[in-house]
């Protein structure tokens, strides 16, 4: 019995560690959806760019990927804000399909460009390795570090959204853009800021992923699907919902991977997603659309 319990604890701990990273990635996706009703299918590519920032800096200067966050976060913020201002803002009021097509197209362009510039080679950033035991549960050091940084950044984004003037303006824009305008809020600026922050969070997630997984141009796709699953679970547009959804997804994924193979674990995620859409389509913390 003792070992079963230890196994369960191990699964939960591994899952939560993974969940932190998913929360960081999904927080941006849900923020963009909330503020402009756009599902950014290029969100995974922003993660990929964040991972390459860390990779290239490491290759050139041996820079510690945690320090590389100081580069990837502002760089991806600018990339996101500019993309929103000149590309995505054109489809904010268009039907959902239009923005899906646009952002899917963007993801193909970014992936293709990355393949041309950086080739399809797998890269990695050798950083801290190993782990330690906590009772019968073993904890991987790099994953714990990625988890901790993810929580700090997700928390910082949450504080920004709930405490600051522009953070609140972004939430107001998400809840009712017309009333936000009537309050004197420049909703275009709020949307640009939201996309910039979402991209910065995705970029930060990518930088953290760079020392956990291989870095290659198409790496964003799998992460995008997971982030999407997280926001469907947690409720589209809900930031706390994304955190809870990410933890659930992480634990389910770790559990399914323990009980079966990784491929089946992926399938379990989508079965869960489907069940969620059937039972509670607005997610755990999301609000039903009028």
């Amino acid at each position: 019995m003792g070992t079963d319990l230890a196994t369960a604890a191990q699964v939960v701990v591994s899952g939560l560690l993974l969940g932190g990273l998913y929360a960081l990635l999904a927080g941006g996706l849900t923020l963009v959806f909330g503020v402009m009703r756009v599902i950014n299918l290029a969100h995974g590519e922003l993660l990929m760019l964040g991972a390459y920032v860390a990779c290239l800096l490491f290759a050139a200067t041996g820079l510690n990927p945690i320090v590389a966050l100081l580069v990837s976060i502002p760089v991806l913020f600018v990339v996101g804000a500019v993309t929103q201002r000149f590309v995505v803002n054109r489809v904010v009021n268009a039907p959902l399909l239009t923005s899906l097509l646009l952002t899917y197209g963007l993801s193909l362009v970014v992936t293709g460009t990355a393949q041309a510039v950086w080739t399809n080679d797998y890269r990695s950033v050798p950083f801290i390795t190993g782990g330690f035991a906590l009772g019968e549960v073993s904890i991987s050091r790099p994953r714990l570090l990625a988890f901790a940084v993810s929580l700090v950044l997700t928390g910082a984004a949450h504080v920004f959204l709930t405490r600051t003037r522009w953070g609140k303006a972004m939430r107001a824009t998400a809840q009712n853009a017309d009333v936000a305008l009537a309050c004197g809020i420049d909703i275009d600026r709020a949307r640009m800021l939201a996309f910039g922050i979402a991209s910065a969070l995705a970029g930060a997630a990518g930088t953290l992923v760079s020392f956990l997984y291989s870095v290659y141009p198409e790496m964003g796709r799998a992460f995008m699907l997971k982030a999407f699953a997280v926001i469907v679970l947690g409720g589209l547009g809900s930031f706390p919902g994304a955190l809870i959804g990410a933890m659930i997804l992480g634990v389910v994924e770790a559990g399914a991977a323990y009980l079966s193979t990784t491929q089946i674990a992926e399938a379990v995620i989508y079965i869960m997603l489907l069940a969620m859409l059937l039972v509670r389509p607005h997610g755990l913390l999301g609000t039903a659309e009028r």
Binding site: K168, A169, R171, A172, Q175, N176, D178, L181, A182, C183
Partner: protein, 250 residues
């Protein structure tokens, strides 16, 4: 009908605070207004009445940039504001309270008011605005931490009006403020409009509750099918046999 309140702002040409001149406006390809004119002088309460489809709300939306103006001019305080978006009108002193008691449902009452004061950067002025609104609606003061979405319709309308007042506007545009409210809240809305008028706030009020609006309005316009039909003082229109026949159901 002009009170002494205007005396503090010298207006050499006696131009109104807001003037809507021969405005044609609509949404996409649908035209709703076919040349409507109206004016609001400083400190006046002006009513816009008329049957459904007359284009009353569209006038407010044309002023605030939510409806597209295809011809005509809108001037405010001496400047042309035709087609200017709502967020740029707020710093000029125009507050807009849209129809439907629209609030930020997932925000508290206090946060809703705070959003109303988004353009007010001075901390003292913000504080003053909060106390002014909480004094006007003590009920909101008691519920400042409640989520606006969980309040009754009448309370949400107070939040919406209070939010508009946070910028200390010179002109407030109100779209159907009493629509769908319980009778006691309808009475409260009209009392509030009167007390705001007494404080010198100019208002352009769209209302289906014509009799009560005309009773407190300095001037009013009766619209029909996107055109001006009648205009005059509130009392004139209230007494006008045509208004009564057409609209008040006599």
């Amino acid at each position: 009908m002009t009170g002494g309140a205007e005396a503090r702002i010298p207006e050499p040409l006696a131009t109104p605070l807001l003037s809507v001149d021969d405005v044609h406006a609509g949404y996409g390809r649908v035209r709703v207004l076919h040349g409507v004119s109206a004016a609001v002088e400083a400190g006046q309460l002006v009513g816009l009445i008329g049957p459904n489809g007359a284009g009353k709300s569209t006038i407010l939306k044309a002023i605030t940039g939510f409806a597209r103006v295809s011809a005509g001019r809108i001037r405010y305080d001496g400047q042309d504001v035709t087609g200017v978006r709502a967020d740029r009108l707020v710093p000029l002193g125009i507050a807009y309270v849209p129809q439907g008691r629209l609030v930020f449902a997932q925000m508290t009452v206090h946060e809703n008011l705070e959003m109303g004061a988004f353009t007010v950067r001075d901390a003292g002025a913000r504080q003053e605005a909060f106390s002014r609104v909480y004094d006007l609606f003590p009920r909101l003061a008691d519920r400042r931490t409640q989520l606006a979405g969980t309040m009754s319709g009448g309370e949400q309308q107070m939040v919406a009006i209070g939010r508009g007042l946070m910028v200390r506007p010179r002109l407030m545009l109100l779209d159907e403020p009493s629509l769908g409210l319980a009778p006691r809240f309808v009475a409260l809305v009209f009392e509030t409009l009167q007390s705001l008028k007494a404080q010198g706030l100019a208002m352009l009020v769209v209302e289906q509750n014509a009799a009560q609006t005309l009773a407190i309005a300095d001037r009013a316009y009766l619209l029909e099918l996107g055109r001006n039909r009648l205009e005059g003082t509130g009392a004139d229109l209230l007494a006008n046999p045509e208004t009564r026949r057409l609209y008040l159901g006599d």
